[in-house]
Structure formats: structure tokens, C-alpha cells
């Protein structure tokens, strides 16, 4: 018994001594700042910054490869914390979120055929561009759901499209990269009104294929009191920097494809815009 304790204990003692010596002698010098920075980061290793994990990002910030505001998951608070640690001023980016620009769910957009294959948008897209007759429409097979690092995207069972939780979304853009239809866009979180269609087909084609598509009729452009709307390739686009959220276009759009993308408090709609709405034909 004693013998065994001595032998095993002896081996343990010698090994630990060896380890102790090795840890001193072969120690890798690391910048203590990296450790500090890593502690300031969320630690989710989501990869949204473009680096393999939080530590890799911290190293990149120290070597001035990545900007201090590069952590999308952490947002403003983490960026200021990093800036504080580094003793610099940080240029804060505006928060962006992913937005689905398609309203062509089940019963709204025409289906081309019944898809029974793999639940993957790329796979669906390989079969004649997907089962939506509109070549721009969301396929709803959910490739974006699976790549989202923060689970902000979910299936909208009523429409067969996907929905994005703007609170959870960190604007990393991973969903944009996997979408074969490019039907997702990154928009400033402050933008409130958006054309929710990205079909570049001519009006008559869009009307045939989908009830909620932008026809490119130009009515919104005509009624916008701020001239915030432009029309290109049969598709309207709203400049969020000019738009004052009066809601005229939302009311006037014949296919109702312009919508509020964030909850707009009613008092935002200014009285002069109200008069615009009632005055326009």
C-alpha cells in the first residue's frame, strides 16, 4: 500500500516539477492587453466580425487590423469599452439590421411548382431558380435561419417566408451571403419605411406573378413630399436620410409593398404630411 502511494506520488511530484519548469521556461509571451480585450468582448465566438473567435478579433484589434468597433454582437457598449481600454476615441457605426425585402408569401406570390426536396435555399434554387414564379422572391427554405449566429431569424409559418427579430439581429450579414435570391438587405436600424420588394421585372409581369410586388408605377415618387423616392429598374427605393416617415407612400402604394419596418409611433406622422395625404388625388 505504502509502496504504491510512494510510487504514484513520486511520479506525480516529478511530473509536476517538470511541468512547472516548462511553463516558466517555454512560456509564450502574450500581450496582456489581448487578455483584457478578450474579457471585454461578449465571448460568444460568433464570428460576425470576420475572425474565427473573440480572441482572434482581440489580437486583430491590437495589431490594428480590425477596427475597435468591429464587434457587431457587442455593439456600442463593447466598442466604447474597447476604446477605453486602448485609450482611443472610437468612431461608432450606426447599427444595421437585416431586412427581408419580399412580401410574396403563400397565397400572395404564384408558385411555379411544388417543391419536395431538401430544405435548403441553394438546393431549391438549383431547380429552375426555385418554386416561386417571381425570380426575385424569397424561397422560405431557411438557409438564413441556419447561419444566423444569434438565432434572430425564424420561419414565419403563416406566410412561408422568414422573419427577422430586429432586437436580436446584430447586422453581421451572414444571412445575406447564403441567400441565393439576394432577398435580404442590411438597412440602418433607424430606417422606418422601406419598399419591401426587390423585383426588377416590369410592372405587368410583377402583377401577374405576385400581389405584393413593386410595379414600378412611380406613384410613391409622385406623392412623396420630401422627394425621397427614386425609381430604377422598375423598382422604387426610399432614401432613409431624406424620408421623414410621413406615411404618404405607404398609404398610396397600389400593391401595399411599401411598409413600416419598425414600429412607428403615430405622433411621428407630422400634420403637414397628413394634409399632403388628404390633398393628393
Amino acid at each position: 500500500m505504502l509502496e504504491a502511494i510512494l510510487v504514484v506520488g513520486g511520479i506525480g511530484l516529478v511530473s509536476s516539477l517538470g511541468l512547472g519548469v516548462a511553463s516558466q521556461k517555454f512560456a509564450v509571451e502574450t500581450d496582456p492587453k489581448i487578455d483584457e480585450l478578450e474579457r471585454a468582448l461578449p465571448g460568444a465566438n460568433c464570428g460576425a466580425c470576420g475572425y474565427v473567435g473573440c480572441r482572434a478579433f482581440a489580437e486583430a484589434v491590437i495589431s490594428e487590423e480590425a477596427p475597435p468597433s468591429g464587434c457587431l454582437a457587442g455593439g456600442e457598449s463593447v466598442a466604447t469599452a474597447i476604446a477605453h481600454l486602448l485609450g482611443i476615441d472610437v468612431e461608432l457605426r450606426e447599427k444595421v439590421v437585416a431586412q427581408l425585402v419580399c412580401l410574396g408569401g403563400e397565397g400572395v406570390a404564384q408558385a411555379k411548382y411544388k417543391y419536395l426536396g431538401i430544405g435548403d435555399c441553394q438546393a431549391g434554387y438549383l431547380l429552375a431558380g426555385g418554386d416561386k414564379s417571381c425570380r426575385f422572391g424569397c424561397l422560405g427554405l431557411g438557409s438564413c435561419i441556419r447561419v444566423c449566429p444569434v438565432d434572430a431569424i425564424s420561419n414565419d409559418l403563416s406566410s412561408g417566408l422568414v422573419q427577422i427579430d430586429r432586437e436580436l439581429c446584430i447586422g453581421c450579414g451572414k444571412c445575406l451571403a447564403v441567400c441565393p435570391k439576394s432577398v435580404l438587405e442590411l438597412v440602418p436600424a433607424s430606417q422606418q419605411v422601406k419598399v419591401l420588394c426587390h423585383s426588377q421585372d416590369k410592372g405587368p409581369i410583377v402583377r401577374k406573378l405576385c400581389r405584393a410586388g413593386c410595379l414600378g408605377c412611380g406613384l410613391c415618387k409622385k406623392v412623396c413630399p420630401e422627394k425621397a423616392i427614386t425609381l430604377e429598374k422598375f423598382l422604387a427605393a426610399i432614401d432613409p436620410n431624406i424620408c421623414n416617415v410621413c406615411g404618404t407612400c405607404v398609404k398610396k402604394c397600389p400593391t401595399k409593398c411599401i411598409g413600416y419596418i419598425s414600429d412607428v409611433p403615430p405622433e411621428l406622422t407630422s400634420p403637414e404630411c397628413q394634409s399632403n395625404i388628404s390633398a393628393s388625388p
Binding site: 411555379k112 419536395l116 426536396g117 431538401i118 435548403d120 441553394q122 431547380l127 429552375a128
Partner: protein, 446 residues
């Protein structure tokens, strides 16, 4: 009992319902749509413009690269437009639209040049003629034939294999061709053998076509070319017996190396019987590839037929001609049920690679989804390429194309045996397609 050496494969119900239907000539349609890409390789560029009058057989599009095949007008008439139209691959492809005029020659006017005269011609000239006729592999792969007929010096070819297996269920176009034109086929084989400079040819036919075997055996006794032997080999009915690699293995016991290995690497050139007939017509009659045999079949068609169709004819016209049940149709497939492509509309043209139009009824189409892999291993048993389809399918669900490559992603011939036997009804072929597209996308990104 016919021979087969390859392991794996399946024997689905043959359903050769049109085997007894002679090839009928489909009337010249009012309009044809000729896509500029009907072959593997660089797409063609149009040689005509809207408003031009064209003659039947006139070359109207030409490819730039060597691996390309020109397109010929399949009717006489006026070019209406050149614009994108739906192509059987599922994409919009730039196509030449020709509106037919009233004076159509019914038959190809040139008289046949005697075989012996052709056999004394220079091989390079004959090969150029094949290239000029726009001939591609008519089995469905649509690889330009002249490229196959010009093996590099480093890879000498000693054997010509004619693929008459037609292992796909339902299809009978090749079967009828062999029964109705055995003499022309044997002449075509002699011409091909002459171009390749070889002395042995084999015709592989599955034993469910005894009449075709007999017809070709008889025709093969009348060979005019010196020193050429043609053997007709009876094959066991086994899908995918008509796969190039498996046909070579069965008849010659040679193994084609994995991709990018080609039959040329083992000294073999394989041609489909439809292609051989097209080569015969091109060389003997000077007729370019303007028509092909198409089997219109399936339970969704009341009068299934084998039809000789001008290229560019709309599939919907063929279906109307065969009295199809447009209400009860569940699926329209161009090609056979195993490897054909399902289409969402019949408004698309017959192209060089269209071997059949299969209409399945709603009741026949499986609309239940698929489930998780149960690792039963049935797909491994039937895979004729000795792959592990279940592993590939699981990788596909996770987008792991790099790992899938180690499991033979490039070796898969997309025959569909795995999907056919899968008890969980997993769409394994589609999954392999997805993996390949992911790999190609990653490669394009660099």
C-alpha cells in the same frame, strides 16, 4: 442469360410500354425554339438575325471553342427573334425562334453516298463533317461527338462500344432505332471505326430487347469494311447498365479511372445508337442533326408513342399529339425516370439531349417528404460506383462539401439507385447536386 460484371445497381419495373410502337414522324411544327446551348461546352453564337429567311439544315449558330457543336435550322422559315427562353436545364437560355413557312421539304433530298466510297475518304475530312453536322451524344449527355472521335495521340483507342443498353425504364427510342434501322447503324459503326482507325466494335444490348439483338446480329454479318469485327453482346437487365463506365466494365472488363479519367484512358470510345444513326445520316446523306427520336410515355399519356421530332418542337405539342391527361399529370420529366429532369411546364423545346418525355400521374408521384437517414446501408449495396451515398447525404444536410469530396463526390454518376432504394425517401441525388454546387461556388470565390 446476358452478361454483367458490375456490382450494385437495381432492376426497377421496366415499363417499356412503347416497345411495340414503330417510330412515327411528328409533323413539322408551326414554330421551333432552338437554344444556343444544346451540348456540353461553350455556348454557340447566332449566325442569323431576326427577319432572316433560313433553309432547313442551314447552320444558324456556331460555337467558338473546339468542344462545341453548331446548331442548324430544323425547319425552313423566318427567324422571328433571338431571345431567352426556358431551357430543359431550368434556366432561361438565349434561343433562336423560327416560324415555319409553307414550303417544307418532306424528306431530306440528298441521295445516299455508297458506303464503300465513304470508307475510302480521308478520316480527318469525315470527322470535320461530323463536327459540322452538330452531332452530340444523343443518349442525353450531349458531349460533342467529334471530340470523342479525335483521341489524343498519347491515348490510342482500340475498341468502339455502341451503347444500346437503354437501361432507363420507359424509354424505347434506341430500341426502336435498332429494330428499324439495323443496316444504317452497322454502316454508321463502320464509318466510326474507319474514322478512329480501329478493328473491333461491340454493340451492348440488354436482353429484354431480343428482337433488336437479332436484327443487329443479322445486319452485322454484312460488313463492307475490311478487317472489322462487330460483336453484339447480350447484357443482363440491370440499371445503370447503360452508363459508359459500367458498359466498358461489363463488355471489356476494363476499369475507367476515376475523374478526370475518360473511356479514352482505357482505349475505348462509347457511342449511343442514336448518335451512330446521326453520324450515318450526316456522312451518307449530308444531313445535319435536325431531328431525333423521342419516346413520349408514362401513365399520364393515353397514346404513348415513339416520335421522330424536329429539334426545337415544343414539348407541349408532343404531349397534345399523344393525347395527354393535362389535368391528372403530376410530373413531367424530360428523359427517363431515373436520370431525367422534372419540368414545371411543358412550354419548352425538345433539344439534342431529349431522349424522352415521361408524364406521371398525381397518384404515382410521391409527395411525402423525406426523413432522417436510418443508416440501413441499402444505398451502399446498390451504388454502382462503390460510394457511401448515406454519408454524402448527411454531409449535404450540413453543407460539408470538403468532407464529401473525400467520400467520392466527384465519382458519383448521379444514377439515382440510392434514392430509389432509400426507405427514408431521401433525395440523395439532389443532395449530391447541392454539394457539387457548393463546391463550385467555393472554388469560384477562391
Amino acid at each position: 442469360m446476358g452478361t454483367t460484371y458490375f456490382i450494385g445497381g437495381i432492376h426497377p419495373p421496366e415499363n417499356k410500354i412503347t416497345a411495340g410502337c414503330p417510330i412515327e414522324t411528328f409533323p413539322v411544327p408551326a414554330k421551333v425554339l432552338l437554344p444556343l446551348s444544346q451540348h456540353i461546352g461553350a455556348p454557340c453564337e447566332a449566325l442569323v438575325k431576326a427577319g432572316d429567311m433560313v433553309e432547313v439544315g442551314q447552320k444558324i449558330a456556331q460555337g467558338r471553342g473546339y468542344v462545341s457543336a453548331p446548331v442548324h435550322a430544323s425547319v425552313s422559315g423566318q427567324v422571328k427573334s433571338i431571345e431567352p427562353y426556358l431551357h430543359p436545364i431550368g434556366r432561361q437560355v438565349s434561343s433562336i425562334v423560327i416560324e415555319t413557312d409553307t414550303n417544307q421539304p418532306q424528306e431530306w433530298a440528298n441521295s445516299a453516298i455508297p458506303l464503300l466510297k465513304l470508307l475510302s475518304k480521308d478520316t480527318a475530312a469525315l470527322r470535320d463533317q461530323v463536327q459540322d453536322a452538330g452531332i452530340v451524344g444523343l443518349g442525353g449527355a450531349t458531349f460533342p461527338t467529334h471530340v470523342k472521335l479525335n483521341p489524343p495521340v498519347a491515348k490510342p483507342v482500340d475498341t468502339l462500344l455502341i451503347n444500346g443498353a437503354e437501361c432507363e425504364p420507359y424509354l424505347t427510342a434506341d430500341h426502336r432505332m435498332m429494330m428499324e434501322h439495323p443496316q444504317e447503324l452497322v454502316s454508321g459503326i463502320q464509318l466510326l471505326a474507319h474514322i478512329l482507325g480501329i478493328s473491333q466494335a461491340y454493340i451492348g444490348i440488354e436482353e429484354n430487347k431480343p428482337d433488336a439483338i437479332a436484327a443487329l446480329r443479322e445486319a452485322a454479318t454484312k460488313i463492307e469494311a475490311k478487317g472489322l469485327t462487330i460483336n453484339v453482346v447480350k447484357l443482363r437487365v440491370r440499371y445503370p447498365q447503360g452508363s459508359e463506365k459500367h458498359l466498358i466494365q461489363t463488355i471489356l472488363d476494363r476499369q475507367v479511372p476515376p475523374p478526370p479519367g475518360l473511356p479514352m484512358d482505357v482505349g475505348v470510345v462509347v457511342q449511343n445508337v442514336g448518335t451512330v444513326y446521326a453520324v450515318y445520316e450526316a456522312l451518307s446523306l449530308g444531313k445535319p442533326l435536325i431531328e431525333r427520336t423521342v419516346t413520349v410515355t408514362g401513365s399520364g399519356v393515353r397514346q404513348p408513342k415513339n416520335l421522330k421530332v424536329r429539334l426545337g418542337t415544343q414539348v407541349s405539342e408532343l404531349l397534345d399529339f399523344c393525347d395527354w391527361d393535362s389535368e391528372g399529370a403530376g410530373k413531367i420529366i424530360l428523359g427517363g425516370p431515373m436520370m431525367g429532369m422534372a419540368q414545371y411546364t411543358p412550354q419548352l423545346p425538345v433539344i439534342k439531349g431529349t431522349s424522352g418525355v415521361l408524364v406521371q400521374t398525381r397518384a404515382e408521384v410521391n409527395t411525402a417528404g423525406y426523413r432522417d437517414c436510418v443508416r440501413c446501408g441499402k444505398c451502399v449495396e446498390v451504388c454502382p460506383m462503390f460510394l457511401m451515398p448515406q454519408t454524402l447525404s448527411i454531409y449535404a444536410e450540413r453543407g460539408m462539401f470538403k468532407e464529401a469530396e473525400e467520400y467520392g463526390l466527384t465519382d458519383c454518376i448521379l444514377c439515382g439507385c440510392c434514392s430509389y432504394v432509400c426507405p427514408a425517401k431521401r433525395p440523395i441525388v439532389q443532395m449530391v447536386g447541392l454539394l457539387r454546387s457548393l463546391k463550385a461556388a467555393a472554388k469560384a470565390k477562391g
